[in-house]
Amino acid sequence: MIPVCRLEDLPAGESVRVDTTPPIAVFNADGEIYAIDDTCSHQDASLSEGWLEGCLVECPLHAASFDLRTGRPTCLPARRAVRTHRVSVDDGTIHVHLVAEEGSAA
């Protein structure tokens, strides 16, 4: 379980990158908090820097879009899912529960 930040420090529409290995991106999608692997499954871009719209994040490099709920890409050029991670908020702090490397969401 990794603490990320205070809930109030991640307003709706914002995202933050957690420097774990591999790094994780945490999003506040209209009040719902989601965590996925930060590195796009297509090439080398950070999804926490992407464009968030509803439950979808668009990669800042080639515009593949991922569903934060499933990690699945909704359009090309990405074809593989990114892993999703469970999130909880305890005492106002967001925590990410990393899934094991093998337990891939793909």
């Binding site: 820097e49 464009w51 668009e58 800042p60 490099l61 080639h62």
Partner: protein, 385 residues
Amino acid sequence: MRTITVVGASLAGLYAARELRAQGYDGRLVIIGAEPHPPYDRPPLSKDFLTGKADEDQLALSDAEETDELAAEWLLGVRARALDARGRTVLLEDGRTVASDGVVIATGACARRLPGPSLAGVHTLRTLCDARALRADLAAWPQRVVVIGGGFIGAETASSCVALGHDVTVVEAAPLPLLPQLGADMAAVCAGLHARGGAELVTGTGVAALHGDATVRAVELADGRMLPADVVVVGIGATPNTGWLAGSTLALDDGVLCDDGCVTALPHVVAVGDVARVGAARAEHWTSATEQPRVAVRNLLAGHTAETVRPLPYFWSDQYGSRIQFAGRRRADDTVRLVEGSPEEGSFLAAYEREGHTTAVLAVDRPRPFTRMRRGLLAAVPVAA
């Protein structure tokens, strides 16, 4: 339509084939490609592939499952030699012909070469074969590498060669690389990346000759200087592959001339990607090659121009650990304003402006605000119905 032929089996050709199926075309689909390989991605050739961080299987644009779903006939390793005047028959160099009701031209561009006899050690970088050959020559180090041309591919190649431990000089004939694309201020900033990254940049002088017997030994500059070289990479631009269309009725002028919807003078022939001059402009960008096919295929299936592309050029480039992103169309008299960060910090966002409007945006390692501004620009591009 019963048979549609896609000529060119790379990025734009593959995306066109996908769009044909996605938009409901269920007839015969023939894809002709001069290269023996199935479609692969070129941008990594000058980046991760050259440095060995990515291998050939990571370049593939498609997998077996998707290839099955496309249900196409692939004719690879064979070049189209001509298109008949009515645009109904594609002639192949091995003598075969493919009768077609629709044709997608996606033959891309090929690297421009220097005149003169070919010497070992001299490379261009456009194809997988080029990249394999260059990678092999760079396997022993350190080598003295001279990159001719300071454009994006030249700069990326130089950066990759530095990363591999070679001694690198970039030669650019203009006073600064990327001057027409970026304007003087920002071109100077990008030129600075070479020095920071550890490559030498020589500007304002062209190349007079390459010297060597069988293998290159030196590059002679127009000002008389001699640069010793073991490996030379020629990155002086690309020419659209339109040669095979000579004798067709299509208008050719630095690309296949199309309307704003990628449709040529023949309504059942469309062109996409690096080979297409759509509206008034030809782009050599990955994103154009992936965006144009949707519109081109729609118009091909409709039989007329039902939709036009939204032309907002976008490209990225990775050099010396920095990611450069650029979107829009800069004109010579635009002013440039730093919006965030600074070149000194190594990360910034700059806007090109004219009469109070933003025309283009450039970012170095600022993807988030860049995307925001790029979307703003896109929203401002008028959509013709």
